[in-house]
């Protein structure tokens, strides 16, 4: 069954996939804020992580605690194969729907 991601869900899955073994709450949040230039709230981040985990697109577990975190553990995140597929589907859909759009024409690496 095709799972269509939402925009924020796609950002989160992509950021987590890009961070690989270093994907956890604060790192994903920073990555999203750095790439989009938009504020990412803790509430949106953690509720979305939980929702995606329920759909089987992410797997999470409690990681190690570090001194810079005041001895608190990280919630580590890994994208599952199903999550990768859902992100690919989302990306393909965005590329397809963007073909011929005025803001795409003339850009390098534009949708073909």
């Amino acid at each position: 069954m095709l799972i269509m991601l939402g925009e924020f869900e796609y950002l989160l899955v992509t950021a987590a996939a890009g961070l690989g073994d270093q994907a956890y709450g604060a790192a994903i949040r920073e990555e999203i804020e750095a790439t989009t230039g938009r504020k990412c709230s803790i509430g949106a981040l953690y509720t979305t992580i939980e929702r995606l985990e329920k759909k089987g697109l992410l797997k999470t577990w409690m990681g190690e605690a570090t001194p810079q975190r005041g001895g608190r553990a990280k919630r580590m995140v890994r994208v599952t194969p199903k999550g990768v597929q859902a992100a690919e589907d989302f990306y393909d859909a965005v590329m397809r729907v963007s073909r011929g759009a005025a803001w795409v024409a003339g850009r390098s690496g534009s949708a073909t």
């Binding site: 509430g43 953690y46 605690a65 810079q68 975190r69």
Partner: protein, 246 residues
Amino acid sequence: MTGANWSLLELAARLLEREEREAVLGDLREVRESTWEGLIGVFGLVLRRQTNLWKSWRPWLAGFGVAIPSSFLLMGVSLSVSWSYQRLLCPDLLKAASLTRASGLLVLLWQAGLLMGWAWTSGFVVGSASRRTLWASAVLCYSPCLFCLSRFRVDSLSRYCLLLFLLPAIGGVRQGLRSSRMKLGPALLLALGVTLLMIPTMSAGQLWWNAPRLSLGWALSLPAWYLVATARRTVELSAQNLTKTI
């Protein structure tokens, strides 16, 4: 962030579950967020979590279907038990009710058993159906209690006799929090016990209300039968799993 500000943030984060609190506080410490932004973040997450919980029918059932009506009705039953106790201590009242000391004691024990059964099963349903929204069910239970306590005007009885049901109800809530469903055998035994105790008590007019006695009694017995219904589903699921395994 100063120590006091961090303590404030830790206090707010207590509204989150343990693992999530750990991750969130660690994230806030790592990115050195300001207290104000941290508080907004934590409360935002708590609000989202609560909103998600209320999308289910369970907290609605626990709060509005059981906690409010049951607490109203159980206060009535508590009052009835208190009357029976008072009557047992006063020979004139016993005589007026055409009861001997032994039959008065039997009525009291009968009513007390019924009160405990109703309160415990109602508490169990509330505890099992609203684990993470228990605070709301508690508020919805205590609101009618406060309302009735403030309007209680019987000189011969303490107003706190209305709250006799609270102890078994809290016991039920604790049990409901521990195990979300009962085994079919004990659930059925409890439901049948409560129903059998109810019928003669209600039809003999031993409880405080008059006209729709039996229907109110059934309303209080519904949580017990809900436990039977949910317990039966567990058995069915086990049977299905067994069939699949075979």
